[in-house]
């Protein structure tokens, strides 16, 4: 179990620098349920972004419906701003196969046509199965496929790494 708050500091710094470099002054943040929403809210506060936070549950966009069906605790997606011509920052806790981000991009584009999309993740654990990379990363970890990494929250965010038998 490791404290994740200092990783958020690192991620905030990277994202701030990236937005400055690109001349993006008013981005809209979209967190992917559940961990991504917790991180996105912290980033929004630290970066002083006034646009309300967007939240997405990508359950209906997953590519494994024909194997596992719909997650029983799916939450509503909510983007309380106009996506058209907006610079969007997608935020998730762990980047692994990249399939969640693929689904999130599809969902995002069903709301409108953003000016650009950036991806910020707390942890990049490698293991990509689709060609997707993050623009800002809190930390990179090399983990065997048998390890599961999970963000515990919503207060005092902590990362838990477990070996699944």
């Amino acid at each position: 179990m490791g404290n994740a708050e200092f990783l958020i500091e690192a991620l905030t710094g990277q994202l701030r620098e990236l937005l400055t470099r690109r001349g993006i002054t008013d981005p809209a943040l979209v967190g992917i349920h559940t961990g991504g929403v917790w991180i996105a809210e912290r980033l929004r506060q630290r970066l002083g972004i006034t646009t309300p936070l967007g939240q997405m549950d990508i359950a209906f966009y997953r590519d494994d419906f024909s194997r596992i069906g719909v997650h029983p605790q799916v939450r509503p997606s909510e983007l309380p701003f106009d996506v058209d011509n907006r610079h969007i920052v997608l935020v998730d806790d762990v980047l692994y196969t990249g399939r969640t981000i693929r689904a999130a991009l599809n969902e995002l584009f069903d709301y409108g046509r953003p000016a650009s999309v950036l991806l910020a993740v707390l942890v990049d654990r490698g293991g990509r199965e689709v060609p997707i990379e993050a623009n800002a990363v809190g930390t990179r970890l090399q983990l065997p496929a048998s390890d599961q990494i999970e963000l515990i929250g919503p207060d005092h965010l902590q990362l838990r790494i477990q070996t699944v038998p």
């Binding site: 209906f60 966009y61 419906f65 596992i68 069906g69 719909v70 029983p72 799916v74 509503p76 069903d110």
Partner: protein, 326 residues
């Protein structure tokens, strides 16, 4: 064990949706919560989710109903499924083809879901027992028996306005005897722990021993409507008049019709519901139907999200069962 255990798989998951009877609080809550997530889709620019992309849904209607069929069709299309509408009432049944032959023929077209409406009670269950194992069956109304998706959209609408079910008082008014809507709604409200359910109707339109369903019967709307949170008006089927169960539409309206005066007996923030289409001036006054307490059109909107939820849940569970047994 319930006769309808066929709608659950060995892990107790919903794989068909034939009746609310025998289901648990958890089953119904899963449908309601999923529908809540799907409700926002209609407000997006692209009103479509890819969830059932590549699946084929067949609307198998042995009894005509444009309205119900349309909401199932729209629900399936918003989930990216392909939809086939078959109005059997006007085709093969007339030619003397048996139900099983009809079924085998449609199955051969590689379908994934049947939405069934039939004038015979138990028809959807019969079909669920005879279809290939990968096909999910939804009951869109069978005889006097059940109309479970209507009940779910009703409780979904109630929950959005009045989430405190233990303290909820609901009055259902009209032809309880012949109403599959009333039967399914009563089961759903009881499973979700609604505080009190009253059924208000003339004696001729109440089933014998209606109390055993967990409701309080009442013949006088002046008593029955007092302090309720929700008033559900049922559609009066005109053909019942001919069966001598009712004197006349005018007399029914006079004794049971929902007027502003009668609605004033309910709580000031009570909501008015109706499965539609309404008979203006028969069971409900236009001023009430179009008034501020009416949520009748909201029910129609919610019906799409609820049917999307039931479709994605049942087909998702089929997929899961197949995967586990593979």
């Amino acid at each position: 064990m319930s006769d309808y255990h066929i709608q659950l798989d060995r892990q107790d998951r919903l794989v068909h949706f034939l009746t609310v009877e025998g289901l648990t609080h958890r089953h119904l809550t899963e449908i309601l919560d999923t529908a809540e997530s799907l409700r926002g889709v209609a407000e997006r620019r692209i009103k479509k989710l890819p969830t059932l992309h590549g699946k084929t849904v067949v609307n198998l209607f042995f009894e005509a109903s444009t309205r119900t069929r349309t909401t199932f069709e729209l629900a399936a299309k918003r989930l990216s499924a392909d939809v086939l509408n078959l109005n059997i009432a006007t085709s093969s049944a007339v030619k003397g083809e048996s139900l099983l032959d009809t079924l085998r023929n449609i199955e051969a077209m590689q379908c994934d879901m049947f939405v069934v409406r039939h004038e015979q009670s138990g028809a959807a269950e019969f079909i669920a027992r005879h279809v290939k194992p990968h096909i999910a069956v939804l009951n869109a109304g069978d005889g006097r028996h059940a109309h479970p998706t209507q009940a779910m959209l009703d409780v979904f609408t109630i929950r959005r306005h009045k989430p405190d079910f233990p303290n909820l008082s609901v009055a259902i008014v009209g032809d309880i005897l012949h109403s599959r809507v009333a039967r399914s709604l009563i089961h759903a409200l009881n499973i979700l722990g609604a505080g009190e359910i009253r059924v208000i109707a003339p004696r001729t339109l109440l089933p014998a021993q209606v109390e055993t369903l967990g409701v309080h019967p009442c013949h006088d709307p002046r008593q029955g409507l007092r302090d309720v949170d929700v008033v559900v008006m049922l559609r009066l089927q005109r053909e019942r008049m001919e069966g001598a169960l009712l004197p006349s539409e005018a007399e029914f309206f006079q004794r049971y019709g929902l007027t502003e005066e009668r609605l004033a007996l309910a709580k000031p923030d009570a909501i008015v519901m109706h499965p539609a289409p309404i008979n203006r001036g028969v069971e409900i006054d236009s001023r009430v139907a179009d008034g501020p307490q009416s949520v009748i059109l909201e029910q129609v909107t919610n019906g799409i999200a609820v049917r999307m939820a039931i479709m994605s849940i049942t087909l998702g569970h089929h997929a899961r069962s197949t995967e586990e047994n593979a």
